[in-house]
Amino acid sequence: MLKIEALSKSFDGFMAVSNVNLEVKKGEIVAVIGPNGAGKTTLFNLVSGVLKPDGGRIIFKGENIAGLPPHAICKRGLSRSFQIVNVFERLTVFENVQISLMARENMNWNLITPSSRVLIGETLKILESVGLAEKKDSVCGLLSHGDRKVLEIAVALGVSPEFLILDEPTAGMAPEETGRCIDLIKGLSDNLGLTILFCEHDMALVFAIANRIMVMARGATLVQGSCEEIRCNQTVQDAYLGGSDVC
């Protein structure tokens, strides 16, 4: 579904992403792991159109999307959430998700129908599926960090993507919130059939939900493989997992 070929990006000569190759098949959950500064977020920014790559191709559903603006990539069915919560701060939880749905329905050019009458049921459905229905009228600037991270995912879900990129979905969450988040991500894959690419530092979470793992270090792909292969790989142990626990 998504195929990244020889992708690279440099900032003032610093190669943040160099020659990365990755393929994600439909229905898979693929994790990208690696130490801080390995280029995980830059990679996601390239795929979602926030940054334009210097070289390489990003093939999404058979079409090269490298260098397209974010809204065009989103319209092709690829949506993402952010590591640092990036939502509509002074709007309510409900409005946050509703705007996302409006964008999907191309309703943003509707100047006539009151917003209070459109997409109510569907918005509530998404909020219920992520467990934020009770807080729908809260201004999202006042939510707890865990709820904000969940809302972050809910906004990304509003556009009904086929492919979802999650940038550290559980960063800064309390342990019990992390558990809820794991269930949520698994549910997205099982129930909605979403293809998911995510990066995460919580190894328990990675091994719990990922089908395949790509390890990045210093902007390049170190190794790719199944959870077992990664767990037992000596290079990965040295570069990132930091233990000598080779099976």
Binding site: S48, A103, S138
Partner: protein, 318 residues
């Protein structure tokens, strides 16, 4: 969301409307003129607030559209035989076209850079109007524009202004509350994320600019009806600043904030300048108080005080 206004709000609204329609019967001509002006500036400030308060766009030179609307209507009335109705709408549409052209250039920039480029482009338009004597009358402007009999009296102009302002406010309100308006507020909050959920942010902002420009132009055309003159100062950037201040004083996160702000500023300018030539000093002090103590404007403060809801749309500190 405030679904279904309470009975009290409806009652107050209807009473206010009735009062506005009856006022000219009791008030002297000067006050009728003054209140008409408040409507004109109120509509102008509200049209700016579409992009400023709801779109988060720093439209620093909004008066260009107001002035151009006024000039378009005045020129149509004096130089062509077009009926009044056509001339009046020409004001709005001319402003919308200018807004579109300027928007195409400025929308690439964000925040302060947008505002700065806008001031320069707007000043260019002002300079053209100011120097083109044969067409615009230069710094003399155009005076004694003749209007249809129904609206040429002070009372007629008042009722015309009142009705056009109410209709315009209603349309703007509907637009703000529509999905277009919701998405616009989303862009104000977070332009980057709006792009990530599939919204073409620049196109959306450009549309909002054209809508704001159109109603700015309508306000300009209304000024022609009230004052029967146009002059280059209508496009000068100091007036833009004043309109911006109207939004801030009234409350730019409230729909009616700019209307109230316009009324306050016009009243201050008219009555204080009767006592002292240093009226701008009073004005400045009021501004300082508003910024320090009422960061959400007068209406924002009143709303917080009397309707302590979840404190939505609160200005960020600092």
């Amino acid at each position: 969301m405030n679904k279904g206004f309470s009975l009290g709000v409806w009652g107050a609204g209807i009473a206010a409307l009735a009062a506005l329609f009856l006022l000219p019967a009791f008030l002297p001509r000067f006050y009728v003129y003054l209140i008409s002006l408040m409507f004109v500036y109120g509509l102008l400030a509200t049209s700016l607030n579409v992009v400023l308060g709801y779109g988060g766009v720093f439209q620093f030179h909004h008066c260009v559209f107001y002035g151009l609307g006024g000039y378009a209507t005045a020129l149509f009335l004096t130089k062509t035989g077009a009926p009044f109705f056509v001339s009046f709408l020409a004001g709005g549409f001319a402003a919308a076209v200018l807004s579109f052209v300027m928007g195409l250039i400025t929308v690439r920039l964000s925040k302060l850079y947008f505002g700065m480029l806008q001031i320069s482009l707007g000043s260019l338009v002002w300079a053209i109007v100011y120097r083109w004597y044969s067409f615009t009358g230069g710094d003399d402007g155009i005076h004694g524009i003749s209007l249809p009999d129904v609206i040429s009296s002070q009372k007629g102009a008042y009722y015309f202004t009142l009705i056009v302002t109410l209709v315009s406010l209603f349309i703007i309100y509907r637009i703000i509350k529509s999905p277009f308006g919701s998405v616009l507020q989303g862009i104000r909050e977070n332009p980057a994320r709006s792009g990530m959920i599939g919204i073409n942010v620049k196109k959306h902002i450009l549309t909002a600019l054209v809508i704001g420009g159109f109603f700015g132009g309508v306000a300009g055309a209304l000024f022609v009806v009230v004052d029967k003159t146009v002059f280059p100062d209508m496009l000068f950037w100091t007036l833009s600043l004043e309109v911006l201040i109207m939004c801030l004083i009234g409350g730019w996160f409230n729909f009616f904030g700019p209307m109230l702000g316009a009324a306050v500023v016009i009243a201050l300018r008219t009555f204080v300048s009767g006592y002292t030539v240093y009226w701008a000093l009073v004005y400045g002090i009021v501004m300082i108080f508003v910024i320090f103590f009422l960061p959400n404007g007068v209406l924002g403060y009143l709303q917080q005080k009397f309707k302590p809801t979840k404190g939505r749309a609160v200005a960020k500190e600092g």
